[in-house]
């Protein structure tokens, strides 16, 4: 752990572990999420990427320390398969805003919801039923729902895993836009090309451990050490536990 001031960090993990029954999903993770980071968490299936993401988000029980230095850090998360209520596109965003901040007026929520839908290109579809949208549109709606609450950190759990190339490109373009606006993003992905295109930092998970945490350019440079190097070469066998 570096000695940089905590104020520059949004979330700090120290020896944090997550277990599900007898399975250790995350083992003694130590890392920081700093403002304006765009972190890609990569690793084989079952390596603990999603568990680390949920640990950082604070929605999973853990041991060790998860510390949020600033008093109020607004967080949002976009899941691989977003759960959308059987309501209109607009009402899904409105409800997300209502859950995030009950003090915003109804008209304020409406304006912010429409702004978020315009941001992801769904403004014209706001009165459609959310569940009638295509997979790519549903993921963009989930991004709008996350973006609308103006989070300090947006967590993304394999946001393009189930999308076709065109929808994948749309989502990546939105994520690049969010990052350019200064939003902090932490994304799990098994798509190394995506990590290379979008992230500024790459965290490699292996059997529940943070094996490598490097700037993107360094991670993809020749000679990446240990099992991360094997993973990059496609020589690391998949682990089904953890």
């Amino acid at each position: 752990m570096s000695t940089e001031p905590l104020a520059a960090s949004l979330i700090v993990l120290r020896d944090a572990s997550v277990t599900f029954g007898a399975v250790a999903a995350v083992r003694k993770a130590t890392m920081r999420v700093r403002e304006r980071d765009f972190i890609a968490i990569v690793g084989a299936n079952g390596s603990g990427k999603t568990s680390l993401l949920r640990l950082l988000h604070g929605v999973v029980a853990h041991t060790g320390s998860r510390f949020v230095p600033r008093p109020s850090v607004v967080q949002a998360m976009v899941f691989q398969r977003p759960f959308l209520l059987r309501l209109s596109v607009l009402n899904n965003v409105r409800i997300a805003l209502w859950l995030a901040d009950r003090h915003v007026s109804a008209s304020g929520r409406e304006a912010r919801a429409i702004q978020a839908l315009e941001r992801v290109g769904l403004g014209a579809l706001r009165h459609r039923q959310a569940r009638s949208l295509s997979g790519g549109e549903q993921q963009r709606l989930a991004l709008a729902r996350g973006w609308a609450v103006r989070p300090d950190i947006l967590f993304l759990d394999e946001p393009t895993a189930s999308l076709d190339p065109s929808a994948k490109k749309d989502v990546e373009s939105l994520l690049a836009g969010f990052a350019a606006e200064g939003m902090t993003l932490v994304m799990s992905t098994h798509n190394l090309g995506q990590a290379k295109r979008l992230a500024r930092r790459v965290v490699f998970m292996d059997e529940g451990r943070i094996d490598v945490d490097l700037p993107t350019a360094d991670f993809f440079a020749a000679g990446t050490p240990g099992r991360a190097g094997l993973f990059l070469k496609g020589e690391l066998s998949w682990s089904l536990d953890g």
Partner: protein, 237 residues
């Protein structure tokens, strides 16, 4: 013409000419069972949603009891409500025995477990799919459960239809606490029982047909609303 055919013909005439006695009986039945379902919805949907997310000692016993109450015999409910509301009972001073109010109370008790148990199941199933994501957005446990009632509103409408069907078709409880007083507490089922015992099959049959048609119409209305204008219920413009 056989007795069966003659009964159908008479029943048809009674319905077509809107026989006043028939209309009065049908209206009272719909009012009593509709009120009972509204009361059961007010208490049952919220408590069902709460039971889907609450964790407390003895929860399994409560859920087991609730499931057992699904098969609550209507005559037992009628008897208990009768004892409570009779002049010597703890609520006898209210003076509501043999009134439609007593019938609403009895039917509410009868359908409340159905509403609560099925709502709990609907919400629990929905939470398994999306509970984590709602909590990630900042929803508390009970808020998540209430949102799931909204999300599953068509399943909720169906369970309310089941409850209404149970209420309007039961005869034991309303017979005991209503007394089957002509023009006051006589509803479709008690009239059918009475007229059949008297041998007046046409009126009994007419009421039986109306009973079926009423439930079918409600079902059709739900299906039409669901397929034709599903978004209207929650759309704001």
């Amino acid at each position: 013409m056989s007795a069966m055919t003659e009964s159908f013909a008479t029943a048809f005439r009674l319905i077509v000419h809107a026989d006043p006695a028939l209309v009065r009986t049908v209206a009272l039945s719909l009012a009593v069972s509709g009120s009972a379902c509204l009361c059961a919805a007010a208490f049952g949907l919220g408590s069902g949603a709460w039971l889907a997310v609450a964790r407390f000692p003895g929860q399994r016993a409560v859920l087991l009891s609730l499931d057992t109450l699904l098969a609550l015999p209507s005559v037992v409910v009628g008897l208990v409500v009768y004892l409570l509301l009779s002049r010597s009972g703890p609520l006898g001073s209210l003076g509501i025995l043999f009134t439609p109010t007593a019938m609403v109370i009895a039917q509410t008790i009868l359908v409340l477990p159905i509403v609560a148990a099925l709502a709990r199941q609907v919400v629990a199933d929905a939470l398994r799919e999306g509970g984590d994501q709602l909590r990630s957005m900042g929803a508390g446990a009970f808020a998540s459960a209430l949102l799931m009632l909204l999300h599953e509103r068509w399943a909720v409408a169906t369970l309310m239809l089941i409850a209404f069907g149970r209420a309007i078709a039961e005869v034991g409880a309303v017979m005991i606490v209503g007394g089957n007083i002509d023009g006051v507490t006589r509803v479709m089922t008690t009239t059918i029982a009475l007229e059949t015992s008297k041998g007046d099959l046409p009126l009994a049959l007419a009421l039986g047909i109306v009973l079926l048609v009423a439930i079918a119409l409600i079902n059709v209305a739900i299906v039409l609303f669901r397929t034709g204008g599903g978004s209207l219920a929650v759309e704001t413009r």
